[in-house]
């Protein structure tokens, strides 16, 4: 056995390791996915009672359904973000993560990637369900819809990871995550609803280039902020 | 005049808010200052 310790992994490798660990844990238990999917379903049903299908058809699908879709996704994503950090806290694994000799920015990056993957899986279920419940044709609009959803989910997952990490340190912090995350995510939300409406109307996405570019910029910005503040966020455990 | 009623309430809210906050700060500060003096005297004693 070599007497020398192996060099700590570089940024990308570390992030990949963290992401793989998170996804493996989730893959085995599927706890987080089940909770967020169930919650999403319930929210959709509540919306169906709040705005019945006739009303939606009469008013115009593209006016109401994008908003409903993103509200549902926002709240069920939060369920997912909370649980992703809760398991760490329960077994004090965050201490292990924080003192590991890797760039803490890489840890947050890996977690954000795992959160994004889980979010996309959630959306893969919720979006078709929304189409079914509210009689929206998702199939013809699928490619631009997928692009819009992916772009905005990246930002949402990154913000959710930042706030989720912060909140996981506080006692009974889970209740907070929505309160902190949603106001900060307003620009993403506005853009998501607007672009989704454009897609449902069948208009070309190029008309929303302004929104899409800004969202892409925000995705990068949130990533940089996470990277810069990672040390402060993951300092103690 | 309805306009004046709104004006009155607007100014009232602002002044109650600002003065109230200043007063509460003052109260908290004097309470803390008293505690500090007590603690410091106890230490010297």
């Amino acid at each position: 056995m070599s007497a020398e310790r192996p060099a700590p992994p570089g940024f990308v490798r570390a992030a990949a390791l963290v992401a793989r660990k998170d996804l493996a844990v989730e893959g085995r238990t599927r706890e987080s996915m089940a909770a967020s999917l169930l919650f999403a379903l319930i929210v959709l049903v509540v919306f169906a009672f709040a705005f019945d299908l006739d009303f939606v058809r009469r008013t115009g699908v593209s006016k109401i359904v994008p908003g409903m879709l993103w509200v549902t996704l926002a709240f069920s994503a939060i369920v997912g973000f909370n649980r992703s950090f809760a398991t760490e806290r329960a077994r004090d694994a965050l201490t292990g993560l924080a003192i590991a000799p890797v760039d803490r920015g890489a840890v947050l990056c890996g977690k954000a990637f795992a959160n994004l993957t889980l979010l996309v899986l959630l959306e893969a279920a919720v979006i078709p369900l929304t189409g079914i419940f509210f009689d929206v044709d998702m199939v013809t609009a699928a490619p631009p819809l997928a692009a819009v959803v992916l772009l905005h989910s990246a930002g949402l997952a990154q913000l959710g990871t930042i706030f989720g990490a912060v909140v996981s340190r506080l006692g009974r912090g889970e209740a907070f995550l929505a309160t902190l995350l949603l106001p900060a995510a307003t620009p993403l939300f506005l853009s998501a609803v607007h672009c989704t409406a454009t897609v449902f109307e069948g208009s070309p996405l190029a008309g929303d280039a302004k929104w899409l570019l800004i969202t892409a910029g925000l995705d990068v910005l949130y990533f940089l902020v996470a990277w810069l503040l990672a040390d402060a966020i993951l300092e103690d455990a | 005049m309805k306009s004046y009623a709104f004006l009155f309430w607007g100014y009232l809210v602002v002044w109650i808010g600002l003065v109230g906050y200043l007063a509460s700060l003052g109260r908290r500060m004097t309470a803390l200052a008293r505690r500090i003096e007590r603690l410091e005297n106890r230490r010297e004693a």
Binding site: F176 | Y11, M29, R35
Partner: protein
Amino acid sequence: MRTGLNRTFAAVLVVSAVLIGCALGLIFLVAPEEKVMGAVQKIFYFHVPIAAMTFLSVFLLLAGGAGYLWTRRAIWDHLAVAASEVGLLFCTLVLITGPIWAKPAWGVWWTWEAKLTTTLILWLLLAGCLLARRYAATPEQGARIGAVLGIVAALDVPIVYKAVDWWRGQHPIVFGPGKTNPLAPGMSEAFGVSMLAVLTLYLVLLIARIRLSSLEERIAELEDASGRFR
């Protein structure tokens, strides 16, 4: 009884009181009543400066949070907390005086246009920062989390503003690029003095709040040292 607020502070407090008196005098005795909106327009003389101070608070919060994370010296945290708290107060006042002005002026209490919506979001962000600090396990953790949340909130505010602005826009724009001064004579002076008065009062509250944090810090030191409480 030493609160640590000395003569200079008392002097500034007196100055701000005097300025407020002057401002009120100018507003009610000198400035003419606005043609369209009537007397209620006079709320504007305080509404706008208070809103300006709210945005100054955001900047100070950013500075305090960044300064604390950079240097880990308590004074920066004191600045961040004071900026959050006083900022939240001023933000609340904006959100109350705004609708009070809007209802007689535009006929509605609220619209979802850029400035109003951003101020509401800012209120939520500041309240969230302060609330999160309370749940922290130790003061150091509270300071650190408060700094992180404060920085994120401060960076987010301009982004929120731009996003909502694209989404809609309707706030009366009194001062804008390329506009000649739309205030009648008599109004400008009242507005200028009000701005100065509110700025001075804001600084008074900020300094007092920072001083309060220092006192709390001193108590924690003394209690730690005496070993009895903890």
